[in-house]
């Protein structure tokens, strides 16, 4: 088991309770999307996965280790955290320094760092910009550099906050491909996202949050088409699902659990048969 969250509650020092009796289990190698409106507790929850926050009540186990017993730096070797805005984690003068920063701080031998860096550069196609300043790069490139600086530590678990926000179609597809490859390598991946169309297309397991609680937890197809759960989160369903619901208002027998274009097309074309 990669991550086990048992009945946690988290109250910020300001007195705001952001998580209330949250429990979940994420198996090793799972790809999961955490969704919900702003203020639902998504970011608070994922900050518990790398020990950045410790629960007020309950406990969080990552690879069987209770997060309260380790420092954030120690957890960083197991759990990589990629922020939504790459500028929040890039601060050095070249891409190379940026990527080497983490491993250097863990006293990993230089030749090992070099090898790890080569692997990551190859994987993310960053070789040509190694000597550039991160701030001279495009947004898509900066996002990849931020990811590289995390992947170089070879974490088993990877958390990405809003990886597709503000990205164009080609960048989104690249991100989906990178996530899927990392997942196939056996890594556990958790993303926080509002992007229902992205989730409808790639269909990770979905955890739906609202007001500090888990509202639904299951297959993308089941969660995104759960009218009642979606309504509680202020999330808009995927366009295809919304269309199915709208048709079903008139034609009661029309299925409400459609999520992909292919499903909808097949259903519509099959109506006469």
């Amino acid at each position: 088991m990669s991550i086990v969250v048992e009945n946690i509650e988290y109250t910020y020092p300001t007195g705001v309770t952001a998580l209330n009796d949250v429990s979940l289990k994420i198996n090793k190698g799972t790809y999961i999307a955490i969704m919900g409106a702003n203020g639902a507790g998504k970011t608070t929850l994922i900050k518990h996965f790398n020990g950045l926050l410790k629960p007020t009540k309950g406990k969080v186990l990552v690879n069987e280790i209770e997060t309260t017993t380790r420092s954030v730096a120690e957890m960083a070797k197991i759990v990589g955290f990629v922020f939504q805005n790459p500028d929040h984690q890039l601060f050095l003068t070249t891409v190379e320094e940026e990527i080497k920063f983490g491993p250097t701080n863990f006293d990993i031998p230089e030749d090992q760092i070099q090898k790890d860096m080569e692997r990551v550069l190859m994987f993310l196609n960053l070789k040509n910009i190694l000597k550039r300043s991160p701030f001279s790069l495009s947004e898509g490139e900066r996002k990849r550099v931020a990811l590289a600086s995390v992947l170089v530590m070879n974490p088993e678990i990877l958390i990405l906050d809003e990886p597709t926000m503000g990205q164009d179609a080609i960048q989104k597809r690249n991100i989906a491909k990178i996530i899927s490859e990392l997942n196939q390598q056996g890594r556990t991946i958790a993303i926080v996202t509002h992007d229902v169309e992205f989730v409808a297309e790639y269909q990770p397991r979905v955890i739906l949050m609202g007001e500090g609680r888990i509202i639904a937890d299951g297959e993308a197809k089941d969660v995104l088409t759960n009218l009642e759960a979606m309504a509680r989160t202020k999330l808009r369903p995927p366009q295809i699902t919304a269309l199915a619901w709208e048709i079903a208002k008139q034609e009661e027998s029309f299925p409400k659990d459609l999520i992909s274009i292919t499903e909808m097309k097949t259903k519509l074309l099959g109506l006469g048969r």
């Binding site: 409106a37 702003n38 495009s138 947004e139 898509g140 926000m165 503000g166 990205q167 164009d168 179609a169 080609i170 960048q171 989104k172 509002h194 229902v196 169309e197 409808a200 202020k234 999330l235 808009r236 995927p238 366009q239 295809i240 919304a242 269309l243 709208e246 048709i247 208002k249 008139q250 034609e251 274009i261 909808m264 097309k265 519509l268 074309l269 099959g270 109506l271 006469g272 048969r273």
Partner: protein, 291 residues
């Protein structure tokens, strides 16, 4: 119909690059149009926006601009930026970059104050801008304490206080969650309907904006490669999933695929209720064609 923007043979190269960022652009926009611009990152969309609001050539002086841009009768090369900003308001992706005062009200008053307008006029403009963007309740708040969505409302209001005829928005919802994005887009649509403001918007989320668009532009490698009504996406027999890397909303893709299957649908819908009514109307057709 009155042309409010006229662009002829526009080309621009930044000082740092020999390749033009945009080239060969010809475009006339009518008053009150809602123009959606899409294209990959780095395709020249932002450069194009800077040409409309006069930042090019006035601010990017080391670059080379060819051709001409007229906004509401002003040639952008011949008129200073402060005159152009009264015609064209610009809203950026990151609202923090255009807010700087300690209260929302002061931020809204900043532009009109700098034009040297009388006190009563400034007051009236601030009130109108607060009302149009529905943020009267935020007037005393500090912009930097607001949420991203609220900040973007303030950024739009501060531009409206200059009473522009044209609003240029460069990915205004890129950093916003879907609920805040829809709120911003509703305000913009309302400005067009109520104030007849011409809207030019760069937006990746075509599923949210195409239904409002009177015109859809795609910029690719600095050139204008698609310029038509969104409905014409089908007429041009375009590949269903994306064109020039621009992702077509799933609703539109569904209808393109149904048409390819021989279902006689003439009109592509851009929102869910429209799509449902087309399907309900055509259900008979779908049934008979699959028999």
């Amino acid at each position: 119909m009155e042309n409010i923007i006229q662009i002829s043979d526009l080309e621009f190269s930044y000082g740092t690059s020999k390749q033009p960022a945009i080239h060969g652009i010809n475009l006339n926009v009518n008053k009150g149009e809602y123009v959606v611009i899409a294209g990959l990152s780095g395709c020249g969309k932002s450069t194009f926006c800077r040409c409309i609001n006069g930042l090019i050539p006035h601010f990017y002086r080391s670059g080379i601009m060819k051709g001409s841009v007229m906004v509401d009768g002003l040639d952008t090369r011949e008129h200073p930026l402060y005159e152009i900003t009264q015609k064209v308001g610009m809203v950026f992706q990151d609202p923090e970059s255009q807010l700087m005062s300690l209260t929302v009200e002061r931020d809204l008053a900043f532009g009109p104050e700098n034009l040297g307008l009388p006190r009563e006029e400034i007051r009236a403009r601030v009130e109108e801008a607060l009302e149009l963007t529905q943020i009267q309740h935020l007037r005393e708040r500090a912009p930097h304490e607001l949420s991203g969505g609220e900040q973007q409302h303030v950024a739009i209001a501060s531009v409206l206080a200059l009473q522009p005829k044209i609003l240029v928005l460069d990915e205004p919802t890129a950093n916003l969650d879907p609920v805040s994005a829809v709120a911003i887009l509703d305000i913009i649509e309302n400005l067009r309907v109520q104030k007849k403001i011409t809207v030019i918007i760069v937006e990746h989320r075509l599923d949210l904006v195409l239904q409002s668009a009177t015109r859809f532009l795609i910029i690719h490698d600095g050139a204008l490669v698609f310029d038509d009504k969104p409905e014409k996406l089908i007429a041009k027999n375009i590949t269903p999933d994306e064109i020039y890397g621009v992702q077509i909303p799933s609703l539109v893709r569904l209808f393109m695929q149904l048409i390819n299957e021989g279902i006689p649908i003439k009109q592509i819908p851009f929102n869910v209720p429209q799509a449902a009514s087309v399907i309900l109307k055509e259900l008979g057709l779908i049934r008979s064609s699959s028999e």
